[in-house]
């Protein structure tokens, strides 16, 4: 009886030490998968997904609490990238969280601005420059187009302006006829199967 208890106790103790050592040896700093998801998200910090920003949303995806289709600014390309990373099936964008718009920036109508600083406090990326009773302005390259500054403005002087295509940003459009092929894919598959 005593031998049995001792033998199992010593064995369990040894295994405990081994696991304790390997827990230190193989310690994982933070959640690497969260970093990878966060790198894909557009970093608008707009909160349209229902989370406080892109990183909390990435944590929610990694924990399996959120779906991958709740990010309107990222659009389809973002969902596809997340699906590839996580090995899940891509989903259509969830309309509840808003629709995908092209890249846009906020522009303050400087003649109407009263310098109330409310939009400064709302901006998640500190892209608005100004002080109390001074005219404010948006730093266009910093602005993520999250629309969070529009709501608090008491004089409605902020407009969202789509970023115009320049020679540097222009891309070939996706061919229209290929879209129909992709829409027919399930039927095609069934025909082949």
């Amino acid at each position: 009886m005593m031998t049995a208890i001792l033998a199992l106790g010593i064995l369990a103790g040894l295994f405990g030490l081994l696991l304790g050592y390997s827990a230190i040896r193989f310690r994982v700093e933070g959640e690497p998968i969260v970093e990878q998801i966060n790198a894909i998200l557009p970093q608008t910090q707009c909160g349209q997904c229902g989370y406080a920003g892109c990183r909390p949303y990435a944590e929610a995806i990694a924990a399996g609490e959120a779906e991958i289709n709740q990010c309107p600014p990222g659009g389809e390309a973002n969902i596809q990238a997340l699906a590839d990373l996580l090995g899940r099936d891509p989903l259509p964008l969830n309309e509840e969280h808003g629709e995908h718009k092209g890249k846009q920036v906020a522009v303050i109508d400087e003649s109407t601005c009263i310098g109330c600083t409310l939009c400064l406090q709302a901006c998640p990326v500190d892209a608005i420059l100004g002080a109390a009773k001074q005219m404010h302005t948006v730093i266009a390259v910093e602005c993520t187009g999250c629309e969070l500054c529009i709501e608090p403005c008491p004089v409605d002087c902020i407009d969202m302006v789509p970023v115009r295509e320049t020679i540097g940003t222009w891309k070939w459009p996706f061919p229209e006829d290929r879209r129909e092929d992709i829409a027919q894919l399930p039927t095609l598959r069934r025909a082949v199967g």
Partner: protein, 193 residues
């Protein structure tokens, strides 16, 4: 040398753990939906099976038998397997966070994979030595991986096929598994004697 080769062939094909002995069916049905997941699971299980087979042989041969504690075999083996799985989980979490994410709950569930305990107990039953235990465990793991990956490939194909409504989902998967099992029964004539 021939003996080891025979053990290997016998466990991989003739006495396949999943399709002939019907052990480890839970991960076989659970993680075979996607080929990538199945491959990851196969690798993790291979590692755990081989290592736990060797470790449980050592525990049995150097601890239980000299002390005459044969009746503690099952609980000791479960302890050994749990430790090996925990260790594997730490290593996978460190080396491949994505695989860790994809395998999710199935990684700790290797502990309850009856194939793992089955291999350890059959080692004792058949009076295998150290190397024989290692080869037997590895063979069982290769057999498990082989059918898991084959089955995942079949299921991916079936997912695109036009299956009659009453057979969709798990039903067709179980039928497919049954047919694969029938096919593997055909190997029983491979080794004479």
């Amino acid at each position: 040398m021939t003996e080891y080769a025979l053990i290997l062939v016998s466990t991989v094909l003739v006495n396949n753990f999943v399709l002939v002995k019907f052990l480890g069916l839970c991960p076989f049905m659970g993680v075979s939906r996607k080929l990538e997941t199945a491959t990851g699971m196969a690798l993790a299980t291979t590692f755990v099976l081989t290592l736990s087979s060797v470790c449980s042989y050592l525990a049995n041969h150097y601890l239980l038998q000299p002390l005459g504690l044969g009746y503690l075999r099952t609980i000791t083996f479960i302890l050994v397997i749990a430790v090996v799985v925990q260790f594997t989980e730490m290593v996978v979490h460190k080396t491949s966070p994505l695989l860790y994410q994809v395998l999710g709950i199935f990684l700790p569930l290797i502990t309850t994979n009856c194939a793992v305990l089955g291999v350890a107990l059959l080692n004792v039953q058949q009076h295998f030595g150290f190397l024989e235990s290692a080869v037997y465990g590895f063979g069982a793991a290769v057999g498990f991986s082989l059918v898991l990956i084959l089955f995942a490939a079949v299921r991916e194909r079936v997912a695109a096929a036009d299956v009659p409504v009453p057979f969709r989902g798990s039903a067709i998967a179980l039928i497919t598994a049954g047919l694969m099992s029938l096919a593997f029964m055909g190997f029983s004539g491979l080794v004479k004697g």
